[in-house]
Symmetry: C2
Subunit: 446 residues, 2 copies
C-alpha cells in the first residue's frame, strides 16, 4: 500500500463532470490496478464508485483491493448492496477476507446473501480462521490436479482453472479425499513431454503448514525454501488453501513495523503513520508511557527513601541508570529479533543466558574503566571513586541478564516478547540499579 497521489485528481474530476466515459475507462483499464488506486484515492467515495463502474467487475475488484483497508471499509459503507455482492465475488479470496474482517458482523451478514453460494462457503471458512493463524493469510483460489493424468491433459485442465486461481505456477496434486499428495510447478509441466504422467513428475515431499499453525511458520518455511506459495492443510492433510509470496511479504513488512513499535513501547498503529488519528496515537503511546511512568515513580520512591549518603554520588545517578538500561535494551532487542527470525528457539535459553552473562562482564568492564576516570574528578579520593566502576559493572551485568531473560520468559508463557520486554527491562534495571548503587556506596564508604 503506497501513499495516495493527488496529481491526477483534477483530470479525473474533469472527466467525471464532463461524462467522459472513454477517458475514465482508459485510466482504469490501462494502468496497473495499484496505480489506479493510488491516483484515485483522493476522490470522494461516490466519485470512486463512478470511476470504478466504467470497468468490468473483475477489474473493479482488482483496483478496489489496492485501496488502504480503512478506505475500503468507507467505500463499502457508501455502496449499493447488490453491486457490492458481485464485486465481492470477483475479489481475490484473501483480499476479501481482509476486508470482511474489518466490517461490522451485522453488515457482513447483510452482504453475504448477495454473494454466490460457492463463494459463501469459502468466505465463512476463511473468516473462521483466527487472526495470526496461517489460515487467516491464505486464499482458497489454488490450482489442483489429480495424479493419474498426463501432463498434456494437465495443461488443458489448468487453462480452465487459471481464471479462478491466484497462482497457477504451483499446481497441487490431490487424491480422491482432497488430501495433498504432491506438487508440480508449471515450469516442470512445460518442460516435460505431454505424455508423461503427473504422478511421475510431481514432488512427493511437499512442505506445508497446518491451518491453525501461527503465521511465522508460513514465513519461515516460504523464506527458507524460496517458494512462491505454501499449501495449507487441515488436520487430516486435506488441502484447504495456499499462502502466496506477496501476502507473506506484506505480513513480514507489517510484522517488522509492529515489532519495532512494540520494542519502542507503542501499541502497533496498524496503519500508516500520517493516517493514524491523534486520539488513537495518543492512546497507543500514552498507555505505555503511563506504565513506564509508573515504574519510574517506583524508582523515585526508592530513591526518596534511601537518601544519598554523599552528595557527589548524585551526579552519577543518570549515568548508572543509562548504562544498565542501554545494555539491557541491546540484549532484549537481540533476543527478540533472534526469536522472531527463527535464529534462536526457546530451547536455546541456556546458551543465550550464558552468552549474555559473558557479554555483561565484557561490556561492563569496558564501561567501568572510563567510569572510574570520570569518578576520580568528583570523588574525594581514588578508593571512594571505585564505587562508580563497581556499580557500572554490576548494572551492566544486571541489564544483559534481565534483558535476555525477560523475552525468553514472556515467550515461554505465550506472550509476545516484543510487546512486554523493553519496558519491563527498563523498570527492573532502574529500580534494582539504584538499590545496587546505594548499597555499593554504603558498604564501601561507611
Amino acid at each position: 500500500m503506497g501513499a495516495s497521489n493527488p496529481i491526477l485528481i483534477p483530470e479525473l474530476r474533469g472527466m467525471l463532470s464532463d461524462g467522459d466515459r472513454d477517458g475514465l475507462r482508459s485510466v482504469i483499464e490501462e494502468l496497473h490496478p495499484a496505480t489506479v488506486a493510488e491516483f484515485s484515492e483522493g476522490l470522494q467515495d461516490d466519485e470512486i464508485w463512478r470511476l470504478l463502474s466504467e470497468a468490468t467487475l473483475e477489474r473493479q475488484a482488482d483496483v478496489f483491493a489496492y485501496y488502504p483497508l480503512p478506505r475500503q471499509v468507507a467505500l463499502v459503507e457508501a455502496a449499493d448492496r447488490v453491486h457490492l455482492g458481485s464485486l465481492l465475488e470477483w475479489m481475490a479470496a484473501d483480499n476479501r477476507d481482509d476486508l470482511l474482517r474489518q466490517l461490522a458482523p451485522a453488515l457482513v451478514e447483510d452482504i453475504l446473501p448477495l454473494v454466490a453460494k460457492a463463494e459463501r462457503h469459502d468466505i465463512r471458512m476463511l473468516l473462521s480462521c483466527p487472526e495470526g493463524s496461517s489460515g487467516a493469510l491464505m486464499t482458497t483460489e489454488y490450482a489442483s490436479l489429480p495424479a493419474d493424468i498426463s501432463t498434456g491433459e494437465a495443461v488443458t485442465r489448468l487453462r480452465l482453472q487459471a481464471p479462478n486461481s491466484e497462482l497457477i505456477y504451483y499446481i497441487y496434486v490431490l487424491d480422491n479425499d482432497r488430501r495433498l499428495v504432491g506438487f508440480v510447478s508449471l515450469r516442470d509441466l512445460i518442460l516435460s513431454k505431454p505424455t508423461a504422467m503427473v504422478s511421475e513428475l510431481m514432488q512427493r515431499d511437499v512442505i506445508s503448514v497446518r491451518v491453525d499453525e501461527p503465521q511465522d511458520q508460513v514465513v519461515l518455511k516460504l523464506a527458507r525454501f524460496d517458494f512462491l506459495a505454501i499449501p495449507v492443510v487441515d488436520d487430516r492433510g486435506r488441502l484447504v488453501g495456499i499462502v502466496t509470496h506477496d501476502d507473506v511479504l506484506d505480513a513480514v513488512r507489517q510484522d517488522a513495523t509492529d515489532d519495532a513499535q512494540r520494542i519502542a513501547a507503542i501499541s502497533p498503529l496498524g496503519e500508516s503513520y500520517l493516517d493514524a488519528g491523534l486520539v488513537s496515537m495518543t492512546w497507543k503511546r500514552g498507555v505505555w508511557l503511563t506504565i513506564l511512568f509508573a515504574t519510574a515513580a517506583v524508582t523515585a520512591m526508592v530513591l526518596a527513601r534511601s537518601p544519598i549518603p554523599y552528595p557527589w554520588l548524585i551526579a552519577f545517578i543518570p549515568l548508572v541508570i543509562a548504562s544498565g538500561g542501554n545494555s539491557g535494551n541491546q540484549s532484549a532487542t537481540l533476543v527478540i529479533t533472534a526469536l522472531s527470525t527463527g535464529d534462536c528457539r526457546l530451547s536455546d535459553w541456556g546458551r543465550i543466558l550464558k552468552r549474555e552473562s559473558i557479554l555483561g562482564i565484557l561490556l561492563g568492564t569496558l564501561l567501568a574503566v572510563p567510569g572510574y576516570f570520570l569518578a576520580l574528578i568528583y570523588a574525594p579520593g581514588p578508593f571512594e571513586a571505585m564505587v562508580i566502576p563497581i556499580t557500572i559493572l554490576s548494572v551492566v551485568m544486571l541489564g544483559t541478564l534481565v534483558g535476555s531473560a525477560l523475552p525468553l520468559l514472556f515467550r515461554s508463557i505465550g506472550l509476545d516478547p516484543a510487546l512486554m520486554s523493553n519496558p519491563f527491562v527498563s523498570a527492573i534495571v532502574d529500580v534494582v540499579g539504584i538499590i545496587l548503587y546505594m548499597s555499593v556506596a554504603v558498604i564501601m564508604l561507611s
Copy 2:
C-alpha cells in the same frame, strides 16, 4: 537460512566412513536442497565436499547456496580450485555474487579464470554493483523474448531458456538493442492462442528499477504491485537483470533485523545471534554503549556543576529523564519505521513535526498529572510540587520534537536514520532535560 540440525550427523558420518555412496546420493538427491544443507551443516568441511561430490554439479550448486555465507566461505577456502570453478558456473548468479563479495579479492581473481567466459562477464558486472543498490540484489538469469514472434514459438523458445533462468513465469520482451519494451507472464502465454503474437499479448507499461537505485525501491515496487520479480535496467533502458521475490523477502527480513538492532544501538550483526563471535559482538555493542556512555558522562558533568537546590528534587531525576527518553524513543522509532516502509517521505517533515508537537503536549499533560500527585508526597508544598509537572511536560515535548526531528535530519544529510537517531535522542534529551529541570526549580523556588 535456518539453524543447522545435528540429528542426521551420525548417520551421514557412518555412510561416509562405510563408503555407502548410494545412501549419500539418496540423501543429497531426494531431499530439498535447503534440508540437505540444514542436516549436513554440522559436518567438517572435507566431509561436506565428499557428500556433495555424490550429486550432479547442478545439485551441488543448489545445496551449496543454502549453507550460511560464512560457512560457504570456509568451504570455498578448503576446496579444490578446479572443482570450484565448475561449481560456480552452476550456481545461481545472485547466490554466486553474494558469495564472491565475501571472499578476498585475490582469491576471486584466482578463481575467475576457472569459470567459463560467458559467466565471467556476468560475474564482473554483478560484482561492480555497489552494496545496497538494486543491482547487488539482482540475478542475470532471466527469460527474455523478442516481440515479433507467436506465443507458440515463445513457449518453444522458453523451453530452451528454462534451465538457465531463475524465473520463467515472467518473460521480458526486448527490442534489438536489448531495451525493455514489455513483459508477458507464462500464465498469459499458456492461456493465449498459439498463433497470437507476443506483441499483442505483452504489457507495455513495465515497472522497472534502475541498476543504481537503492534496494528499498525494489522492495517498495515489488511489494506494492505483488510481482514475482522486478526487471532492472541500465541508464539506457536496457535489461541487465531481474530481482526475484525470494531475494526481496530475504532482504526485507534482514533489513528489519538490522533496523531493530540499529535502533537498540547495536551495529547490525549480519549473522545469526548464536553464530556471532563474542569478540565481534562485544565490538558491535561496545562501540555504541561507549558513545552512549560518553553522552551520559556529559549529563553527569552538567549535574555535578549545577548542584540540586533542594534535596527532595533528587528522587525525581530518573523519572524526569525517563519521561523524556521514552517519549523521544517512541517518536524516533515511529518516524524511522515510517520512512523505511515508505509511509512518509522527507518532504512530509512539516506534517510530521506538527503531529509530534501536538502529541508532545497531549502526552506531556497525560504524564504531568500523576507526576504532580507523586510530587505532592515529597515536596514541601503544593506550589513547590508544581516543579515536577512543569518539567515533565517540557521534557516530553522536547523528547517528541527531538525524536522526530533527528531521523529526518539524518535522512536529509544521507545518513541512515535508524543508525544514529535513538542514541542521539537520548543524549540530547538527558542533558537538556536535566538543565530544564534545574532551571524550572531555580526559577520557581527562589
